[in-house]
Amino acid sequence: MNENKMSIRRKLNDFYGRDVYTSRLIIMLLVVLISMLILKPAKFFSFINFQTMVAQFPEFGLMSLGIMLCMITGGIDLSVVGVANLVSISSGIILKALVAADGSLPWYGILVSMICGIVIGLVAGVLNGILVAKFSIPPILATLGSYELFLGIGIILTKGKAISKLPMEYSSVIAGKLFGIIPVQLIIFVIMAGIISFLLSRTTYGTRIYMLGTNMKAAEFSGLDTTGLLIKTYALSGICSALGGLVMLANYNSARADYGAVYTLQCILIVVLGGVNPNGGKGRISGVVFSILVLQMLSSGLNMFPQISNFYKSLIWGCVLLIAMTLNYFSENRNRNN
């Protein structure tokens, strides 16, 4: 018994971050599921509802992954929504330009527009990385500025209007279902999350960014290429946002410079709830994915109550974030006193 206790305690110490956060998320998930089971069992626990949910979260889920990476290095990427919109606008423009005279999209159209979108996201991310790593601008400011910049470019490209009347092919593929069951958006998310998870846990890059996020100076003195690592990380975040933007383009079948403005806050909330330390060096993708799922369920659940206006979500999310931070405070304090 005693030995058992000891080992649990040691585990808690070893994986303190992950265990506390994950268990908290599991509790939240259970609360949501049980209340839905009581209140709206038929509607919530339906195949269609789950299919909708897994098609909805990838757009902000992808952006959250980007923010997570940057936070692990001790930074933050506030430009994710800006990048996503810029990508979805430019890919939208490219799609429209590729449409042939007879109104059909050539077979390579989707691929070309997606690749262009990803490249734009990459370039935007590299720009962020250069601002942070080469010019040593604090990441909050650098990405805040680049957010305005990307937003601005988006507005210039669209003259402030929405880009619509896109060829239907794009939306029907990206917002479609593989084998008629699995939403393609989910597949994109799973692939990206898989890649990042692999990078973080199994590669030298992963170990290095955790170390860099812990202590930048020691990283330099240990011979890490800090500039390169930071640029890579922000570039990766740019790619995540680009994919998010491409999914948004398919979901809305239109693009606009100011779509998804609430996602910035929501993504930070997800990442922090998922146990990523805003000061860097700590955080796991499992926690973040878990946290994405919890929030999506919470949000879909709330949608089933027409009397609760959409605006309550903002209140609930804010409260969840504040409560999570407060709990962190108390659990960390207790840990310290022990």
């Binding site: 010019f135 909050i140 650098a142 805040l144 500025g145 305005e148 937003l151 601005g152 903002s314 209140l315």
Partner: protein, 343 residues
């Protein structure tokens, strides 16, 4: 290539940003011939009132080593609540009661921020992101906010009351200098006094410089921060009220999103995002620059949809220059120190 004088100039932020402002003025004047007209200057000053008040709050928070992104949501909520209550009771009185009400609401909401930041010592950016979401949720969800087209007479009158009217003979345009500009002037004066001549103000700088030292020196760090956020809540709400009065109607959401622009202005003014460093003058100059860019692009003949792009570029260039400045200063300091010791 760069003379010593130039270097000295560059190291002084206020100088540098004034230079940019002057250049921009001249550029606009050359392009449009409309910059130094009385009505344009009055328009600019009147556009400066609300961002200026917000900037004072954001500035004090940044100096203390924090960052507050909740003030527009906070202001929207307290102004919405005030306006809603007053319209519902069919309030007919003057501006005094609305001011008192927003100040009280603002202080309460600020105390909410302060509780998490000062008592629980949680990171300010994440917390204010959270409270900002809560404030928005309360306003849009619980209070079910909608646009209030007819705000009480007293508020409307305050918003339209003019100190004087400036005329542009050439174009036949007139602009009114709102009475509310006095609020900004008084607020700047008060902030200057508080920051320079009260121990509370020095405590804000001290905490931003080194929180542990501040605690050891005997500053009441928790209380100082708490009061700071209460004040910021009240000042921001006052700014929101002025905006609503000047517009003559209450749009619950149209202040949201201003936080980034305001913080950008403060940082452009040379206020260190890491806390402890920066002057009120710099903060105001930075805000003026941002407001000028926003208001004067039309005069330059640039389509308005270029606005965000220029703002973004301005933030990046401005923060980039100050970041490089910090790096250079640090290097210079090291070599200076070595020089002294080996001599």
């Amino acid at each position: 290539m760069m003379g010593k004088k130039m270097k000295g100039l560059l190291s002084k932020h206020e100088f540098y940003i004034s230079l940019v402002i002057v250049l921009l003025c001249i550029m606009i004047e050359i392009r449009s011939g409309q910059f130094f007209t009385p009505n344009n200057l009055v328009d600019l000053s009147s556009a400066l009132i609300v961002p200026g008040l917000f900037a004072i709050g954001a500035f004090m928070v940044i100096v203390s080593g924090g960052i507050d992104v909740s003030f527009p949501a906070l202001a929207s909520l307290s102004v919405y609540a005030t306006t809603r209550i007053l319209t519902d009771i069919n309030y007919k009185g003057g501006i005094l009661l609305p001011i008192v009400m927003v100040l009280v609401f603002g202080a309460l909401l600020g105390a909410f921020n302060g509780f998490f930041i000062a008592k629980l010592k949680l990171p300010t950016m994440i917390i204010t992101l959270g409270t900002s979401s809560v404030f928005k949720g309360i306003m849009q969800g619980v209070l079910n906010s909608t646009q209030i087209p007819n705000i009480p007479e007293g508020m409307k009158n305050f918003g339209t009351a003019a100190l004087f009217v400036a005329k542009n003979e050439q174009l036949g345009l007139t602009s009114r200098m709102p009475v509310a500009v006095l609020v900004l002037i008084v607020a700047i004066g008060l902030a200057f006094f508080v920051l320079r001549y009260t121990m509370f103000g020095r405590a804000i700088y001290a905490i931003g410089g080194n929180e542990t030292s501040a605690y050891r020196a005997g500053f009441n760090v928790g209380r100082t921060k708490f009061i700071l956020y209460v004040i910021v809540g009240a000042v921001s709400s006052l700014a929101g009220l002025i905006r609503t009065c000047m517009m003559g109607q209450m749009h619950p959401t149209n202040m949201l999103g201003m936080e980034m622009m305001i913080i950008a202005g403060v940082v452009l003014g040379g206020v260190a995002i890491t806390g402890g460093d920066g002057t009120l003058t710099g903060c105001m100059l930075g805000t003026i620059l941002i407001v000028m860019v926003q208001n004067s692009l039309i005069l330059l003949g640039v389509p308005t949809y270029w606005q965000e792009f220029f703002l973004g570029a301005l933030i990046i260039v401005g923060t980039g220059i100050s970041a490089m400045q910090v790096l250079r200063n640090r290097k210079r300091l090291v070599s200076k120190k070595l020089g002294e010791e080996s001599s």
